[in-house]
Symmetry: C3
């Protein structure tokens, strides 16, 4: 069986909990395929900003991305915080509207999780 | 394609974020039909109270209602805050139990979003 | 019609609101069958710890369990808080990973609610 989940985060201080949840899902799935996406909107997109000295959160994101997790940023939120795609960690994808991504993924059978 | 989403809010201080999310969904859908409902329970119902001097939140609700968004209040929460239907903004509908509305809408194919 | 819902809680101070939501769902369902599960991970598992002097929250859990509600604890969270199954209220079940439980239940048609 394939597991599909989209994690919604809109507050910066929920990143540690959210990434722990994602890692727990990957570990629980074992050898079963997992499609996991983290969708950040609101103030949570700020944690996607690239720094040459990555903090613990950015390091964990990189680690999870290498295990196949998709990280997406809402462009409405990026606009609100004056962020351009080139400001973000290289593996972060952008979507026109985070909420539309949440709607479309659930319509496609993804579970919704809001840590 | 028709998009369907129910937004759950149970804290008064999440209204600005929630209404921004709803507006982003409508804008992203463009000319595609959207069924969007905001379901308020807990302390969030207090923001539905009518005032002859509507604040920014109430004005935004009115604007979104005119664009087709449904605003619903949980009657259990209304009872807890001693609110009658006539205390609320005229376009707000009431449901017997907010959680049952969340269950039924998801069973009917609505995506769940908790900003 | 049968109603199915999983309630996700990951913060200790959301228990009162969450249990009120669960009770409202049971009451709204009347004589219709309801499958309701409360899944606790993160710091929320601490409220599952057994005490010989149960507080109001534990009493409400017991009451809802007798009405058929399932209470589950995430073992990852239990490990983080150094809790063993025998530390918990007797009716609490444990699952290997709370997030996997959320994914599987939604795949099985349960509505997701995060109070």
């Amino acid at each position: 069986m394939e597991y599909k989940a989209i994690f919604h985060i809109d507050e910066s201080d929920r990143w540690r909990l959210t990434l722990g949840n994602v890692e727990n899902l990957l570990n629980a799935a074992g050898s079963s395929p997992v499609k996991a996406e983290v969708l950040a909107n609101g103030g949570a997109v700020l944690q996607y900003v690239f720094s040459s000295h990555p903090n613990e959160i950015a390091q964990k994101m990189t680690f999870l991305h290498r295990r196949g997790v998709t990280f997406a940023a809402c462009r409405n939120a990026m606009k609100a915080y004056h962020l351009e795609p080139e400001d973000l960690l290289a593996f972060v994808t952008t979507v026109p509207a985070g909420v539309m991504e949440l709607v479309q993924k659930q319509a496609g059978g993804y579970a919704y999780i809001k840590p």
